[in-house]
Symmetry: C2
Subunit: 226 residues, 2 copies
């Protein structure tokens, strides 16, 4: 006897993006009830023929025009009363994107899309503030022992940009020399022997993240803690 439960399943995505000053999160303005007109995380119902992760990617593209991103499962929120539409369980994902690579386009159930600094958020629909809080916590935890975050930067970046990213995620300042020593010791960055163009002051060297080196180090149980 299999009970046919009226539980419905959704996905929600917390997309983190970085601009020059802030760590931001992508929100959409809802074009449908409930919470019509409220800001919310992009997301929606999982279709029977797609995996839950595929649903997250689909909704992200449909509602915000964002595609091909680093996406990781965050947590499943399964409280009974979390959605006024009835019993809805949501699987939350979080994503990291380079903000400038991903121009936003509102569509489907979204009337508008935008980036919001974490410290300056509007009121959110459903329990999305809670989901976002968990996501930010996870991001901070994760960045400490895994070199994620390269997805937030352009392909070629300077060590100062990378340090800025870590400082924004961890919300504290880091010592420049110690940071450089450590991050270079990880052995997963390639010095491109190029320098920044069009900057108003001394140009910095450019580096890129090397996925192969990262995999090699990872297999050997290397520790990426900062």
């Amino acid at each position: 006897m299999i009970p046919i439960t009226p539980i419905r399943l959704t996905v929600d995505c917390v997309v983190f993006g970085l601009d020059d000053t802030d760590l931001k999160v992508l929100l959409i303005r809802r074009g449908i009830e409930p919470f019509l007109g409220s800001w919310a995380l992009p997301g929606g119902f999982v279709l029977p023929a797609e995996s839950v992760e595929d649903a997250a990617r689909r909704e992200l593209e449909e509602e915000a025009g964002v595609r091909e991103v680093f996406l990781e499962q965050l947590f499943t929120f399964g409280e009974v009363e979390r959605d006024p539409r009835g019993r809805v369980v949501t699987v939350a994902y979080y994503a990291l994107v380079n903000l400038h690579d991903h121009p936003l386009t509102a569509a489907t159930d979204a009337d508008d899309v935008g980036w919001f600094a974490l410290e300056d958020l509007p009121a959110l629909a459903f329990d999305h503030d809670e989901i976002l809080r968990v996501a930010a916590e996870r991001l901070r935890g994760k960045v400490r022992y895994q070199p994620i975050g390269f997805e937030l930067l352009p392909e070629k970046f300077t060590l100062s940009q990378l340090q800025g990213l870590y400082e924004k995620v961890l919300d504290r300042t880091l010592d420049k020399r110690n940071f450089r020593r450590k991050v270079l010791a990880m052995g997963i960055l390639i010095d491109l022997d190029e320098i920044q163009q069009d900057v108003a002051h001394r140009a910095a060297r450019l580096y890129r993240f090397d996925e192969n080196l990262y995999r090699q180090r990872t297999e050997r149980g290397f520790n990426f803690e900062l």
Copy 2:
């Protein structure tokens, strides 16, 4: 327009237990189709009126007689083809219990219950081998930077027992003196000024885990890495 999807939601629990020699996992023998007669993780459908975590606790008690345990969400498995009954998404949890405190009783949809060493598992129903693999990996990862695992021991325990636990979870030997130095430096153990009874050789001091001390340390950003 809300699509009423035929997706159904289950929970599955990976319960780790420790006996004197091995790290074990709790399995039930299924009393219903599909996979009737196969060994599987305890679990079942989420009811509309309970939270997902409550469902996990309920199933654990119903099927195996295990209650009041440390339970943490592991991962949600949402592939389309993972269940022969149709579209079933499962939220997996993992639990840590002191094996001797939890006598097992098979009931409801389970014909039998038992503890199995991680290295000596029967074939499992559904994708439960995959779920178990993810759980073991998470446990290893977690134990390294959080002092979980006390749930696996009796309330009063010796440092050797604790070390044995870590060695079984991490699957490597640790140096006795270094281990003691580190674990005592964490400042979350209380020396009970008691010694073991009824042991065939020199009796060891007993300690207990102090939750208040743990919380204090946690709030100050203390690092529990071993």
